[in-house]
């Protein structure tokens, strides 16, 4: 990276840290530190929700996903607007009326302490580990592409934000997310403009769509039904899995995950919480569509420009030191000549250009096969490298620094909110709840800061561990959320919609179904039960609702309904 790029990157990140510290002043108690004194306006709630959900991988992965697999990934978000409606109608009013700090606090009032502790614990485990991975994933990509040291990249990606998150809590998180989202949207808009600008004369957005369509990249809506066969349950992204599976996943994420609940509970009023969530329901799907479209634009760009044989430079470098080094040299020479010929044939109405492109695909497949060789131990998936490789190869100096900053800021926004929520749950659901002596507000404030720092260090350490273990862990953790979310959502669904079901029935159901979902995940990984991971959310949530209902019948209708439930009915 050039010096001007470094200057842009460092200045942008320093500006965010300085702004976060400047906005750090809150009242020295839990209300100020965790909920920003409930003074955040709706537009900051909206940007906070979006900034928390959109991690660095969102911006790295999505364009690459569209480049390789097409735009069908957008269907993953179809359940989100519907989930926003349910969260606004059912979850937010109750959370706000009970003035809870965490979503799980409500479960003790509705059921009992053990159900609260279980769900909060599941959240802490799942979020703590997955946040480590969400630091590691972009760090591996940046360090690989730019040759940075992985430990320093992890600290850069997950450590610097700890400064303002510890200092200012939810308020600093909300204000920095606002600025981060503005920079992210501006950076992506400039990148989109630059792709179109770099296309040959006479090739515009309409032609990009035609190229994408011809190459099968505009497969935005897919039904998931096989030709002449039934529904493919293993297909990850289609209309049905997006609406149903996505709905359960997003409902769980926004209704029962503290990293999101903590954002909208900071709002000034119920109205502003709802407004932020519903506007997120309006803008999220078009936003993801545009990010994916960027991938199709990059795909069209490479039809007119030389495309690397493999987008991850470091992996090709590793092949050049393996037993394939001679074959690689031959392949690279042939590929370079092939690209030259292919580009010369662009616009050829005959089939020559198609044949040439197919021959190039063959060479790319060969490189991937070599990387899959256990003797090489490489990573044959370069999807996440496509967009950044385009940025570093083709965008002008200065803009590269800005787009690297966009990736880092996306990571910061998401991780900062998560650290704040992990600290909130630790202090509210465990420390304060189980402490023998009540803490003074000032002590709770100081403890919360310590917990934020500890979770920050834990997540960076987790990221380093993930790097050392390798890709298998990262892939496993990609579906980790869906293994836990369904069950947590099931507990909340029973709490909100099944008044007569008590704590004992729901607790046993949660434990049993969680074990079942994990077993399902293991069987799915081994190909014994082929089921796309979005469906785990449905299985977990429905499983808890049904099993708790059955158990409640066995326990007897009146025996186990909690006192808090009766209070809720009254109050």
């Amino acid at each position: 990276m050039s010096r001007p790029d470094w200057i842009v990157l460092v200045l942008t990140l320093l500006a965010i840290i300085a702004y976060g510290l400047y906005k750090s002043r809150t009242s020295r108690d839990l209300d100020g530190y965790i909920l920003s004194n409930r003074m955040v306006p709706w537009y900051m709630v909206l940007l906070g929700i979006m900034g928390t959900q959109a991690s660095a991988v969102t911006f790295l992965s999505a364009p690459g996903q569209a480049f390789t697999d097409g735009m069908r990934f957008v269907q993953y978000y179809f359940g989100l607007p519907l989930a926003m409606i349910v969260v606004c109608a059912s979850f937010v009013p109750v959370f706000r009326r009970l003035k809870v700090y965490t979503a799980y606090e409500f479960l003790e009032q509705r059921f009992d302490l053990k159900t609260r502790a279980l769900t909060s614990f599941l959240f802490l485990v799942q979020r703590g580990v997955s946040t480590g991975i969400s630091i590691a994933a972009p760090s591996i990509i940046l360090s690989s592409l730019l040759g940075w040291n992985i430990l320093w990249t992890n600290i850069f990606m997950g450590g610097l934000l700890i400064i303002y998150t510890v200092s200012g809590g939810a308020k600093a998180v909300a204000y920095t997310q606002q600025l981060q989202m503005i920079i992210i949207f501006s950076g992506l808009a400039i990148a989109g403009y630059m792709v179109i600008h770099k296309l040959p004369q006479g090739v515009g957005l309409r032609e990009v769509l035609h190229i994408g369509g011809k190459a099968g990249k505009l497969n935005i809506i897919t039904t998931g039904f096989r030709k002449g066969g039934g529904f493919d349950w293993n297909d990850r992204y289609n209309l049905l899995s997006g609406i149903i599976g996505g709905f359960f996943l997003q409902l769980s994420y926004f209704g029962a995950d503290q990293s999101q609940v903590g954002r909208y509970l900071t709002a000034r009023s119920l109205t502003e919480s709802r407004l932020g969530l519903l506007l997120n329901g309006l803008v999220k799907v078009p936003m993801q569509f545009l990010i994916l479209l960027l991938g199709v634009m990059v795909f069209a760009f490479y039809q007119y420009n030389p495309r690397p044989v493999f987008f991850n430079r470091a992996q090709v470098e590793s092949l050049s030191h393996s037993k394939y080094k001679d074959s690689l040299a031959v392949l690279m020479a042939r590929y370079a000549a092939g690209e030259k010929e292919r580009l010369g044939a662009v616009g050829d109405p005959g089939i020559r250009a198609v044949e040439l492109a197919r021959a190039q695909e063959g060479d790319r497949a060969t490189v991937k096969r070599w990387l899959d060789d256990p003797a090489v131990g490489g990573d044959s998936n370069d999807t996440n490298y496509i967009f950044l490789r385009f940025v570093t190869d083709y965008l002008p100096v200065g803009l590269i620094g800005l787009l690297i900053a966009v990736i880092v800021l996306a990571a910061w926004g998401s991780i900062a909110a998560t650290l704040n929520s992990l600290a909130s749950c630790t202090i509210v659901d465990f420390h304060r709840r189980f402490a023998r002596k009540a803490l003074r507000p000032e002590q709770e404030y100081r403890m919360s800061r310590w917990y934020t720092l500890l979770w920050g260090v834990f997540c960076v350490a987790m990221a380093q561990l993930a790097y050392n273990i390798g890709n298998s862990l990262i892939e496993a953790v990609n579906v980790l959320g869906s293994l836990f979310y369904g069950v947590i959502l099931g507990v909340f669904l029973v709490a909100f919609f099944r008044r007569r079901t008590g704590g004992r029935a729901v607790f046993i159901s949660a434990v049993v179904v969680e074990i079942g979902v994990i077993v399902l995940g293991v069987l799915g990984k081994r190909g014994i039960v082929p089921l796309g991971f979005l469906w785990y959310n449905v299985v977990g949530a429905v499983g808890v609702v049904v099993l708790s209902e059955v158990l409640q019948v066995c326990f007897g209708r009146t025996g186990d309904v909690s006192k808090a439930n009766r209070n809720q009915e009254v109050g």
Partner: protein, 43 residues
């Protein structure tokens, strides 16, 4: 389940939250329709 209705809470623009919910669901349908058109037209 209890649905809290704050007597002072009025949904902005439309007065009722149910209209907001219809707007969000309707917009999703519109997006799906538009995406379906793009899929069919350009494939």
């Amino acid at each position: 389940m209890e649905r809290e209705q704050d007597p002072e809470e009025r949904a902005p623009l439309f007065g009722k939250w149910s209209y907001w919910y219809m707007l969000v669901a309707g917009f999703l349908l519109l997006c799906i329709g538009f995406f379906y058109f793009l899929t069919k037209h350009f494939s």
